[in-house]
């Protein structure tokens, strides 16, 4: 019986971890897609959708962790075992790329991409609140996370 309970806990833990891993890998693939179209102006509906998909995902990602304390704890545990630079370069688009996207999104004085692009910095700020103190220090000292 005890073995069964331990097995159940382990399975639950593995399932929870895979949930976080899936979230990160989905975001990473959207980032790669978004980075691939930087500079391919003028943006049309397809490019706009790719950009939107990534920035909405990042926003949802931090919102989900912020609102769900258990998920947040699991995420912190998972991140402790990971290399921060690898994690950041995986999910976060570089600042220069973000700036370029914002420039490319502006035509005839009007900003024409999804509003989520402008909210990227706010999403990153929320990310600071999610991290534990130890992870936050590492995060702030990692150049890939800036």
């Amino acid at each position: 019986m005890k073995i069964l309970i331990i097995l159940c806990i382990l399975c639950g833990h593995a399932f929870a971890q895979s949930d976080i891993v899936q979230m990160i890998s989905d975001t990473a693939s959207l980032r790669i897609e978004a980075e691939s179209i930087v500079g391919t102006t003028p943006y049309r509906a397809t490019e706009h959708q790719i950009i939107k998909n990534y920035f909405v995902r990042i926003k949802d990602f931090v919102d989900q962790l912020k609102e769900n304390a258990r998920k947040k704890r699991r995420f912190n545990n998972y991140l402790e075992s990971q290399e921060m630079s690898k994690f950041c370069s995986g999910i976060f688009i570089g600042v220069s790329d973000w700036e370029q996207i914002k420039i490319d999104c502006t035509r005839n004085r009007f900003f024409l991409c999804a509003e989520d692009v402008n909210e990227y910095n706010e999403s990153k700020k929320i990310f600071f609140e999610i991290l534990s103190d130890v992870l936050l220090k590492i995060f702030q000292n990692t150049s890939e996370c800036q």
């Binding site: 009007f110 900003f111 024409l112 509003e115």
Partner: protein
Amino acid sequence: MKKLLIMIFSLWCTLIWAQSNQEIKIDLKQVVNKVSTENYSVYQNSLRVYQAKEGITVARMNLLPRLNLWKLASAAAEIFAGGPAGAAGGAFSIVEDIAPFLVPANWFRVSQSKLFYQADLEGYKALWANEVLTAKALYHHILLDSSLKDHILKSRKDLDEIYHIVRVRETFGGLTQNISQEIKIRLLALDEDLRALEVLISEEESILAFLMGYPSGTKLKVTLIEMPDYDSLEHLVYEDFDFRALDVSPEVKQFQFFINAADYAKKEIYYSFLGASSLSRGLNGGVFDNLPVQAGLGFGAGASIRIVKTQKEILKAQKKAVEETVRRQLKQLINNYNLDVDNYKNLNERVSLTKNRLKQIYQRIQFGENIDSLQLIESSRNLIDAETALFSVMFRFLNSEDKLSRLIFFGDYAKAKEALKLIQKEQR
């Protein structure tokens, strides 16, 4: 003493009169801020959003047990009287009151009320933006009409000078009598235009004051705005704006929330064997209020589900119609904008040519030449028409840019969320 009292009273009356007739100087920034916080429709709608927000709390709190003495009494009577099902029957009859969380339909209503709140927020955004757009357009129109008025005044002054010269020449026999008469008719026509413009400006100011929430009778004075560099304006491309216009459109988003809410209405029917919800869906929930949801799973459930599915299809069709309307408006706006870009250079040239033409005629009159009166009237009219068209195009650019900003929620229109926060802060 009596004299002093009269003096104080008359001073007080003068002050009151001065205050009531005081002009309020406004700029575009103030227009946006005042419409956001003081406009009657915007305020009403913000209260509706507040109601919808509170509706979520009501739905959530209604999941907790509630006290209904009569139902308790009837259940107790059933238990003690040992009715058909005895104690169990009595307890089950009040389950919707003592454990509403056991009724799945109540949970679906909570989810629905959250979606309706989001839909209300989008509705608020749309209304707020439309009111701001109307107020800004009025502001631009007041400026346009004031410019036209100044321009007509100037034209009238020039024509008046010519009239006096012509009169002198006619008196001394240099010119035929009919020229001064024709000029006088033109002068009278300009006076009529001026009076009509004054009334129009006053009406526009009155509507703007209403939109800004000022009491009736308030006199507004609009300040001039910085005009764009018209020579640097370029053609716009529809495809550049298409995505953003649809992506931010509150009207489209509102329908999406209704479509999402339809799924919960369907679930209510599936789980109706566990009881129906008596909670209100709120104002926006009216879309689903006529759907047949029975308290209990019956033979009509299949048809009910088909009705909900059809309702969802109706909402999808409505959403598609709104999307196409946004696209059509955008296309029309960009076409007109590009047309004005092309016409601006033409109109500029037209104004300078007609100005020269009239100047030449005036000079010929001053030198004592016999001028065809129709030629003079025609030239004067041409100049006024050309300048009016140029002014109109200049201000139409401002309005087109503003309409475009409204469609893509850019510039002042990006402040929708802040506007709502401002009102909600005041409500608290």
